[in-house]
Amino acid sequence: MAVCVAVIAKENYPLYIKTLPNENELKFHYTVHTSLDVIEERIHSVSKNTNDLRELYLGLLYPTEDYKVYGYVTNSRIKFIIVIESTNATIRDNEIRSMFRKLHNAYTDMVCNPFYTNGDIIEST
């Protein structure tokens, strides 16, 4: 299970961050924020090549001591970030990919909602 999930807008501010309730939230905020560095670097380096088959799933960003951070960027530069504990070795790449796909679907559903204006903070029950 993921320890923290975040949705970041195109301008790099958080639309939605949720962590497991008994964890240190501030630490995860920082982890997600700093992993944006790596995402930005990947986006900019890929955009120099041709853009036709740009992979949305960015994979493992960098392994910190205790956590693994995975990233995913949509075509409209919305970023999804999932943080998983390193000790949880049973989670495989495929499972992460499917988690991101579900997130992406949920996000597109939300954008289709006529009451949602672009750029608002996402509130979810």
Partner: protein, 891 residues
């Protein structure tokens, strides 16, 4: 004092073979000095890696230990001896070279030969039976003849070798001539080979011990011997074999049984071996091997904390590991390795800092506050231990239980005492700054900012509050612009504490204002408390201290605040720049229209919205315009006392918007210009006493939060709508407007008759009729020629001249005489002449300006108006002469 995790110096330097030169007397003999210099100075990296030492001939080398034939009764007391590496790097040479002055054509050959032989014998005895190679170098005056030609030399050489019991390969000749350096380099290579042979022999000796060992009793020796073999191989400069043996040593280390008592020894030794492995991997250009080795090393030891009372030691050790690896990595990068954004020394420094912070916290938690150093001084021998990593009070002890529980307790107490004396923050801060430098190099700005925040926290713990405040202030704007509110709130709370403790009035007020704002993620009670403190400040009282500060710092801070407020002098008023923070009060100012006529009053609406939890009163509101003359119209002053709950125009209730409208007439100088709001100033606190001016530039608005084009999607609110029903967020902020001049109501015509002829003084009449209702005055007329751009390029000289009168000189612009007044419907004519030297059309521009009194909200003032018309004049040639020849014949 050697602390946990420190690496011995012998380990860090690159091992070089040791060669001792004897028989050289540099004090009395200049030639010898030259020879010694050639060997020892200027050791560039392309020369063989040998360390040369000069010792007298009868120097007593360390006694060789008795070689063991059988290991049955040997119980090892430790893994690695501390003096072993030093011994082989500095004390026990691989080769001893005897320098002797002896020529082949020496007269007293036999005597000298004997003297040389005795010298060598002396050296051999001094070596006490070690296998160090001996060599003899004959310093000669003449250059040697090519081999094979000098029979005498060859003969004498064999005699000398027999006398000294040397092999023929160990005898060398050094002629004292000009090519000294060349000979010296050849000698060095020869010595190098001898040294390599010696080390090879030694490592074989150690390997031979293996047959005598068994795993149960001699487990430590396995490690020791592998280490020794590897070290010898390093001295031999065979780093690949060395690496292989170091890895073996590492594996053997992990076969050892770990208890609480030997954990430190195992950790210390494994950190030594790990260091060597990583260093060699980097040198062999396999950084991934080094990284994976380090990762494995850290993973194995991460959970092995050891005695719970000394858990800080484990954190210190882990921190050291990461720092050392970071240093190794950095060295490798300097030697040419390239690192990438996700794998560079910065991560390791960051982890080192993290463990150092954990160490500090563990120390605070585990070490009792009043601790005394035990009288028995268990750490007396910490610097002179025999084996690496053992505890000073039980050296050499290898059994599973401690010899004396009392001694253990004292030892732990001594270590805890020592730990309390360590200034932890100053260990963390350099690590953090190295990490910051690395992340900056590899373009990770956010990680860098995070580390700056951590460094700020460390300065706070180190009680350097102003530095902490400076660091935190540098990063807040970035988090604010990226809108990470929870992180920003955390930083602001820390800043508030620091500002309180150093009594930085401006910072304190600024941070309080921001923490009361709507984006700060503090609970409401906290906001109320901050507001109360702010209130107290403006009334010259001392605010309450912040939570979570150290007790004595709070006392100092409180003293600072009381001295200032008790001194009677108010603090100098401060200015807070509101555009760069998200405060509790937001201001939006807008002109009610995009342009105004000069005779209608300009209206400005100013709204203030408060997000503070409780009502607040401000004492003055002033609007500043681009033309400062209007500033006087935009002031609202509140005379009530600050804590008076009377509602007035300056009393801001939470969640409410307060609107002020200002109206004024523009001056004539500003007609046809843009008028803009330069800024809005809001004063909190009493004007006579302590106050803070909140300054917005450009009419406020929320540039931080909504600078993006997200507002494009929102419906634009019309500027003259009723603002009280519109929600605060969508209100526009229009801070610039245009003053358009009054339309001139005048009829101006250029009367002319017929086309003008070239070079004719053509008469033009300007006719002005006043069609205004009132009388106008100060009528100024001017005529000028409009030069189209193409004309100006084509003709260098002007081709049109204007004259007021025929006798007067020409000019490009004619101003008609001033007319004092013109009654309504009155007409006036002015004449002017124009002379053109080219044909074509000309454009004349006539400008008429005048003043008319107008009534602006009950006041009469003069308004400037201007009317401009252009009229064209056709110029043609008067005569057109053509000539045609009808008949060529002359008749």
């Amino acid at each position: 004092m050697v602390s946990v995790g420190d690496l011995p110096e012998e380990l860090i330097a690159r091992p070089q073979a040791l060669v001792v030169l004897t028989g050289i007397d540099i004090v009395h003999n200049a030639e010898h000095l030259r020879i010694w210099d050639a060997f020892s100075n200027n050791r560039r990296p392309d020369r063989v890696p040998i360390q040369f030492k000069m010792l007298p001939g009868d120097h007593d080398y360390l006694k060789l230990k008795q070689k063991k034939t059988a290991y049955d009764w040997v119980i090892p007391k430790g893994i690695l001896k501390t003096n072993w590496m030093r011994k082989h790097l500095h004390d026990v040479p691989a080769v001893v070279v005897v320098f002797f002055e002896l020529d082949w054509d020496e007269q007293l050959w036999n005597e000298r030969k004997q003297a040389c032989a005795t010298f060598v014998e002396v050296v051999r005895t001094a070596l006490h039976g070690r296998q160090t190679r001996a060599a003899v170098v004959l310093i000669q005056k003449n250059a040697p003849l090519p081999p094979g030609e000098d029979v005498v030399a060859a003969d004498r050489a064999t005699q000398l070798c027999n006398a000294c019991e040397l092999s023929a390969k160990a005898l060398f000749v050094l002629p004292n001539s000009d090519h000294l350096l060349g000979y010296v380099i050849r000698l060095e290579n020869a010595f190098y080979e001898l040294a390599q042979a010696y080390y090879h022999h030694e490592s074989r000796v150690v390997k031979a011990h293996r047959d005598h060992l068994n795993k149960t009793t001699h487990a430590l020796l396995f490690v020791r011997h592998q280490f020794k073999v590897a070290f010898y191989n390093e001295l031999k400069q065979d780093s690949h074999t060395a690496l292989k043996h170091y890895r073996q040593a590492y594996l053997h280390l992990h076969e050892l049984r770990i208890t609480d008592y030997n954990l430190l020894e195992i950790k210390t030794n494994s950190c030594i071996v790990n260091f060597k492995i990583c260093k060699l991997c980097f040198e062999h250009n396999t950084p991934l091997d080094a990284i994976s080795q380090f990762r494995r090393h850290v993973d194995i030891y991460k959970s092995k904390i050891g005695t719970a009372d000394l858990a800080f030691e484990h954190s210190a050790w882990m921190s050291k590991q990461f720092a050392v690896f970071g240093d190794l990595f950095e060295e490798a990068i300097r030697a040419g390795l390239t690192a990438i954004q996700t794998q560079h020394p910065g991560f390791y420094y960051q982890e080192a800092a993290r463990y150092a912070i954990a160490r500090k916290q563990l120390c605070r938690g585990l070490c009792p506050a009043e601790l005394k150093y035990p009288a028995s001084d268990p750490l007396a021998e910490a610097d002179k231990m025999e084996y690496y990593g053992q505890r000073p009070w039980r050296q050499g002890h290898q059994s599973l239980e401690a010899p004396s529980v009392q001694k253990e307790r004292e030892g732990i107490q001594a270590l805890q005492y020592r730990e309390c004396q360590v200034d932890h923050s100053w260990l963390v801060i350099p690590l953090l700054s190295s990490a910051i430098a690395q992340f900056k190099k590899y373009k990770s700005p956010r990680m860098k900012r995070y580390l700056v925040v951590q460094m700020g926290e460390e300065y706070y713990h180190a009680k350097d509050y102003s530095k902490a405040l400076a660091l935190l202030g540098r990063v807040t704007w970035e988090y604010r612009s990226e809108r990470w509110w929870s992180i920003l709130t955390n930083i602001l709370q820390l800043s508030l504490r620091c500002a309180y403790l150093v009594m930085s009035f401006e910072e304190y007020v600024t941070v309080s204002i921001e923490l009361m704002g709507r984006y700060a993620q503090v609970p409401r009670e906290e906001k109320i408390r901050i507001q109360m403190n702010l209130h107290k400040i403006f009334q010259d009282e001392v605010p309450e201290p912040e939570h979570g500060c150290e007790h004595d710092s709070v006392e100092k801070g409180r003293a600072l605040w009381t001295t200032i407020s008790a001194g009677g002098k108010s603090r100098s008023p401060i200015v807070v720049e509101m555009n760069s923070i998200t405060a509790f009060v937001e201001c939006k100012a807008c002109f009610t229209a995009d342009s105004f006529l000069c005779e209608s009053p300009v209206t400005v609406k100013l709204g203030l919205h408060s997000f503070a939890p409780m009502p607040i009163r401000f004492s003055q509101l002033s609007v500043r315009f681009s033309n400062e003359a209007y500033n006087q119209f935009g002031i609202v002053v509140d005379e009530n006392a600050v804590d008076d709950p009377i509602e007035s125009t300056s009393y801001l209730k939470p969640g409410q918007t307060l609107w002020h409208t200002f109206q004024f007439i523009v001056e004539q100088d500003d007609v046809d210009c843009n008028l803009s709001i330069a800024g809005v100033d809001l004063v909190l606190g009493s004007l006579e006493g302590c106050c803070a001016t909140l300054r917005w530039t450009d009419g406020g608005g929320d540039a931080i939060v909504h600078p993006f084009a997200t507002q494009v999607h929102r419906k634009k609110v019309a500027l003259n709508a009723d603002f009280s029903v519109v929600s605060w967020d969508v209100l526009p902020s229009n801070y610039s407007t245009h003053i358009s001049p009054r339309e001139a109501n005048l009829d101006v015509q250029l009367l002319q008759k017929g086309p003008a002829l070239v070079n004719e003084f053509y008469l033009m009449t300007v006719s002005i009729t006043n069609t205004e209702v009132a009388q106008i005055s100060n009528v100024r007329t001017s005529i000028s020629v409009v030069t189209a751009v193409a004309d100006a390029v084509a003709t260098a000289q002007p081709n049109t001249f204007l004259y007021e009168d025929i006798d007067l000189p020409c000019s490009q612009l004619i101003s008609m005489p001033l007319l004092e007044e013109l009654k309504p419907n009155q007409k006036v004519d002015n004449v002017a002449y124009v002379r053109c030297v080219d044909s074509g059309a000309r454009l004349m521009c006539i400008q008429v300006s005048y003043q008319i009194p107008i009534d602006i909200s009950g006041k009469m003032s003069m308004c400037n108006c201007m009317k401009e018309i252009t009229s064209s004049i056709e110029v043609c040639e008067p005569f057109n002469i053509t000539v045609s020849l009808t008949n060529m014949k002359v008749c």
